[in-house]
């Protein structure tokens, strides 16, 4: 009734190519951006920032990164945690080595460093596929974490083996360190999410994205139309790792402030981001956001319902959460492999015809 493209005619290819071809979608997109930039920063408090918004934004970037690699290019990766650690440690080393340079530049550079590392670990993907590649990236995960714990240079020989973010300012406002306001953390992450989301969308709708999807769907046919598989796969690894590295740098510097490599970026983190991508929807930027939101909100919601409402013990609720996530993964893999994004697409299809479906 209110949601259809009737009368919304496209008269140029540029209009036909836009991200949200339906007017209603376009308005909603601008509305969400406006609320995110102009309303939430003024009402956000520490609890909401640390429990929901900042982790959601950071995991969104990581999920976009993994989705590019797994959802668009079809290369399974279990090394996300390791690559996030690369971003975090790169950011720490840059922050301590060049304290006068702006932190935002450091975060972007950390992404670049992670891209190089990711491309290096992507090299085996030329020879091995599927499960075997997953195991190879798993090796990257364990190797990188081992490296960061073993070589003291990475944590500047600190006694605890932890890395902690020194205080850094953007335009006179602290964005890292203990005195950071909730809204400042939120804004830094939001800016990066917006830029990363736009870049990912632009890459995936253009030539690069089509090369990745061609490799994913049928690599032999991709090669015959002129896709260099080496280049396409390594680009996917590099771009994916770039996003994951930025997520890692933000996770360390802005969100937690101090981390210990194995604890913050262990194999659980790799699986968490993979679950986000599966539940959200493989091969969808929106799905990356949906999956990240779902898995960030779910524990908070379960805790609210279980502990606060029903009065269950905390340990039972936290175990119950594992059961719920596991069941959901199985449900989505069997019933809807394209995840929340596909459910959303189906709802939109239905809404376009509603209330006269025939």
């Amino acid at each position: 009734m209110f949601y259809r493209e009737a009368g919304d005619f496209k008269t140029s290819y540029a209009e036909d190519n836009q991200t949200f071809p339906i007017k209603f979608d376009r308005y909603r997109y601008w509305f969400v951006l406006a609320v995110a930039f102009l309303v939430i920063p003024f009402i956000i408090n520490d609890y909401w920032a640390n429990a929901i918004f900042v982790p959601f934004l950071i995991y969104s970037i990581a999920a976009i990164g993994l989705n590019i690699l797994t959802g668009y290019c079809g290369q399974v990766s279990l090394g996300t945690g390791g690559f996030m650690a690369v971003g975090a440690y790169a950011c720490y080393k840059l922050m301590t080595a060049f304290p006068e340079v702006n932190i935002l530049i450091h975060i972007i550079l950390s992404g670049g460093i992670t891209a190089v590392v990711g491309a290096a670990f992507g090299l085996p993907s030329l020879r091995i596929k599927g499960f075997y590649l997953a195991v190879a990236t798993l090796a990257a995960q364990f190797f990188l974490i081992w490296l960061f714990n073993k070589v003291a240079w990475f944590y500047n020989y600190s006694a605890s083996g932890q890395i902690s973010a020194p205080e850094r300012f953007v335009g006179g406002i602290a964005v890292t360190g203990p005195n950071t306001e909730a809204w400042a953390k939120y804004m830094v992450c939001l800016v990066f999410v917006t830029l990363c989301g736009l870049a990912a969308r632009n890459l995936t709708r253009g030539t690069t994205g089509r090369k990745w999807m061609a490799i994913r769907d049928m690599d032999i046919a991709a090669e015959i139309i002129g896709v260099n598989p080496l280049k396409a796969k390594l680009t996917a690894f590099a771009v994916s790792s770039f996003f994951v590295g930025i997520a890692g740098a933000l996770f360390f510097a802005v969100y937690l402030g101090a981390v210990e490599g194995g604890e913050a970026f262990g194999i659980q983190k790799s699986f968490l981001v993979l679950f986000m991508v599966i539940i959200g929807g493989l091969g969808s930027i929106f799905g990356s956001f949906a999956g990240a939101a779902f898995l960030v909100v779910l524990p908070v919601a379960l805790k609210m319902i279980g502990v606060d409402l029903l009065g269950w013990p905390t340990d039972i609720v936290s175990h119950f959460q594992l059961v719920v996530v596991g069941a959901l993964i199985m449900f989505f893999l069997i019933k809807e492999p394209h995840g929340l994004a596909q459910l959303w697409r189906v709802i939109k299809e239905k809404l376009r015809l509603w209330p006269f479906p025939h």
């Binding site: 140029s12 290819y13 540029a14 190519n17 736009l198 870049a199 632009n202 890459l203 709708r205 253009g206 030539t207 690069t208 089509r210 090369k211 999807m213 061609a214 994913r216 769907d217 049928m218 032999i220 046919a221 991709a222 090669e223 015959i224 139309i225 002129g226 896709v227 260099n228 598989p229 680009t235 771009v239 091969g283």
Partner: protein, 272 residues
């Protein structure tokens, strides 16, 4: 020999030029099996060249040699007058050689439009950063190539399914989309591996018309493998016949029909 490469005009007014691709003494072995034995033939600019033969004759292997999937142990491939060094398939694609497959090889997860747009990859040059920014160079290039793709879509009459995911299409249309993807690349040489396999008469007629139109309107050189003799005889200018990896005939359709060796290969001979 020279008479063979002089340009001429066919009865229906198409111009046949010099030699575009020349296969010289190609031998391809898989272990001890000789799939192709010392075969030479050429493909001339603007012609429709058919490769026929019974199952297992080595036709598809020959196409795979041309498109770079297989490296022949012996022999030379000449393309546009010079010897072609051993190449990977994606490098061959950049020379302007496009192909379709016997079993459809489309990208099932992508829409028809995106599938055909992949055919333009070699004509799109913007870098990663320009594409991430999108506004400017990348968008301009996308629109230019989209316009080209739309011409191919119009030509093959598949406007209505532009945005449909390929996985949902029936077989005949998939074959047409695959042809569209190959055509979008503006190929100099188009290789069709059994373009009419599994089609009914009507679909075959459509496909034949498209093949003739492609050749006629764009002047694209076409090499095709086909089993339907009627189609081959009607469409092609010259025919190569293969059997057990050897070449047993090469000439115009009328010459092939009266070639005793070809008749033997297809109909069998009495064993003494």
């Amino acid at each position: 020999m020279n008479a063979m490469v002089d340009p001429y005009t066919t009865e229906d007014g198409r111009k046949i030029g010099g030699v575009l691709m020349d296969m010289r003494n190609i031998t391809l072995r898989f272990g001890g099996v000789e799939a192709i034995k010392d075969i030479s033939f050429n493909i001339r600019e603007g012609e429709i060249r058919a490769i026929i033969g019974p199952n297992g004759a080595g036709k598809s292997s020959m196409l795979n040699v041309i498109s770079g999937f297989y490296k022949p142990q012996e022999g030379e491939v000449h393309f546009r007058g010079s010897i072609r060094p051993p190449m990977k398939p994606y490098q061959v694609a950049r020379l302007g050689i496009a192909r379709t497959f016997q079993n459809i090889a489309l990208f099932e997860g992508m829409s028809v439009l995106d599938n055909i747009m992949t055919g333009r990859l070699n004509h799109m040059k913007t870098g990663l950063f320009a594409q991430a920014i999108w506004k400017g160079a990348a968008e301009k290039e996308e629109i230019e190539n989209r316009a080209h793709v739309e011409r191919v879509i119009d030509f093959l009459e598949i406007q209505a399914i532009r945005k449909t995911p390929v996985g949902r299409l029936p077989y005949g249309l998939k074959k047409r989309v695959e042809l569209a993807r190959a055509l979008a690349a503006d190929p100099k040489l188009l290789l069709l591996d059994e373009p009419m396999a599994g089609m009914n008469v009507e679909e075959k007629e459509d496909m034949s018309r498209f093949i003739l139109d492609v050749n006629d309107e764009f002047g694209t050189t076409i090499a095709l493998i086909e089993h339907d003799m009627g189609v081959v005889m009607d469409l092609s200018d010259r025919v190569v016949v293969m059997d057990y990896g050897r070449k047993i005939g090469d000439g115009t359709p009328s010459e092939i029909i009266s070639n005793q060796e070809v008749i033997d290969a297809y109909l069998g001979v009495a064993h003494d």
